[in-house]
């Protein structure tokens, strides 16, 4: 795999490879079929607001937490 045209992201604790060298958070959300879902994203420990999804570009090695609401008491 050519390093310049792919990147690895750690998403929810698992490494995932993408065939893009540059991708916005919105692009990732689309790739993961999460568009329009109620989620919140943390990148390298910082929360990214939804309004910033299209402006923030991901980089190789970024760590992401993507969370949602689940049943609980």
């Amino acid at each position: 795999m050519n390093k310049a045209t792919s990147m690895n992201l750690k998403i929810n604790g698992n490494i995932k490879s993408f065939d893009d060298s540059s991708m916005t958070v919105e692009g990732l959300v689309m790739k993961l079929n999460l568009l329009g879902k109620r989620i919140a994203i943390e990148k390298n420990g910082m929360i990214i607001s939804k309004s910033e999804f299209q402006n923030i570009t991901l980089q190789d090695g970024d760590q992401l937490e993507i969370v949602g609401a689940v049943g609980g008491g």
Binding site: I11, N12, G13, N14, K16, L32, N33, L34, K37, R38, I39, A40, I41, E42, I47, S49, K50, E65, I66, V67, G68, A69, V70, G71, G72, G73
Partner: protein
């Protein structure tokens, strides 16, 4: 004959129902929703977890079944064992829910008993309140800790009746009574309620509400139990407001007249 409505006030908002419910341990989202409806609850709590990556596009999510126009969301920090994790989780929840402020803080101290860690809870509460959250706080039934949490600015104090998921009922009504007596914010029993009479007793003690999950979800018939809890909370509240008769070992005054007996 305008009677003042008896409402539960939390962080400036009025609620008709004094039963708050969790969303865990149900068979599916459909049953979750039906149980919430049967309970009459208006405040619904849920956890924040990593999203399932690689899910199908049409996969339903819990919040689709609990519409925000009908229910007040109460994201919680269930599963957090440190103040940092709890604060981080609720910041994510606020982002997830577009700036939503009302949260349930719970910091656990022991995975076996799920007993709360009040030291971490106090730390987290302080940070969250500074950040503008309205914090309903799960805690032990220690009156001093309850008072501290209120002084920090928590909008509801939620002591356990007994351990989470135990269904053991109210183990220390005396402590609860002290907490209720001293509190100026609502005291809501959270955790340990097993059946309807437990909920009624909590309300008769003067609690402003009860939060439960397992007692409904793990009943043989969750929907029927949800209805039973609704009635128990209402009955307990009315009994509290009505003011019970004094207890005495025996009474020299019978309920029926002592005159006019046949002889």
């Amino acid at each position: 004959m305008t009677q003042k409505k008896d409402q539960l006030m939390i962080a400036g908002k009025a609620y008709q129902s004094r039963l708050l419910v969790g969303t865990g341990k149900y068979k599916d989202f459909e049953q979750t929703r039906l149980a919430i409806d049967a309970s009459g609850a208006e405040i619904v709590t849920f956890a924040i977890r990593r999203t399932n990556i690689g899910q199908n596009e049409g996969e339903p999510s819990l919040l689709d079944f609990v519409p925000p126009d009908r229910f007040t969301y109460l994201p919680n920090t269930a599963g957090c064992y440190s103040a940092d994790d709890a604060v981080r989780t609720l910041r994510l929840a606020r982002e997830l829910l577009d700036g939503h402020k009302l949260v349930k803080l719970e910091v656990l101290g022991d995975p076996k008993t799920l007993y709360p860690n009040v030291i971490e809870t106090l730390k987290a509460a302080e940070v969250l309140i500074k950040e503008g959250f309205d914090v309903m706080v799960y805690t032990s039934d220690d009156p001093i800790v309850a008072k501290e949490l209120e002084n920090i600015g928590c909008c509801a104090i939620m002591p356990l009746a007994s351990l989470i998921g135990s269904g053991m009922g109210i183990l220390n009504p005396w402590n609860l009574q002290i907490i209720i007596e001293q509190a100026k914010v609502p005291v809501i029993v959270d955790a340990g309620v097993g059946t309807a009479s437990d909920a009624a007793i909590a309300m008769e003690l003067g609690c402003e509400g009860v939060l439960m999950n397992t007692a409904i979800a793990n009943a043989n018939d969750p929907l029927m139990m949800a209805g039973a809890m609704k009635k128990a909370i209402e009955a307990g509240r009315e009994a509290y407001l009505a003011g019970r008769m004094a207890k005495k070992l025996y009474s020299a005054s019978p309920s029926s007249p002592s005159q006019g007996l046949i002889s």
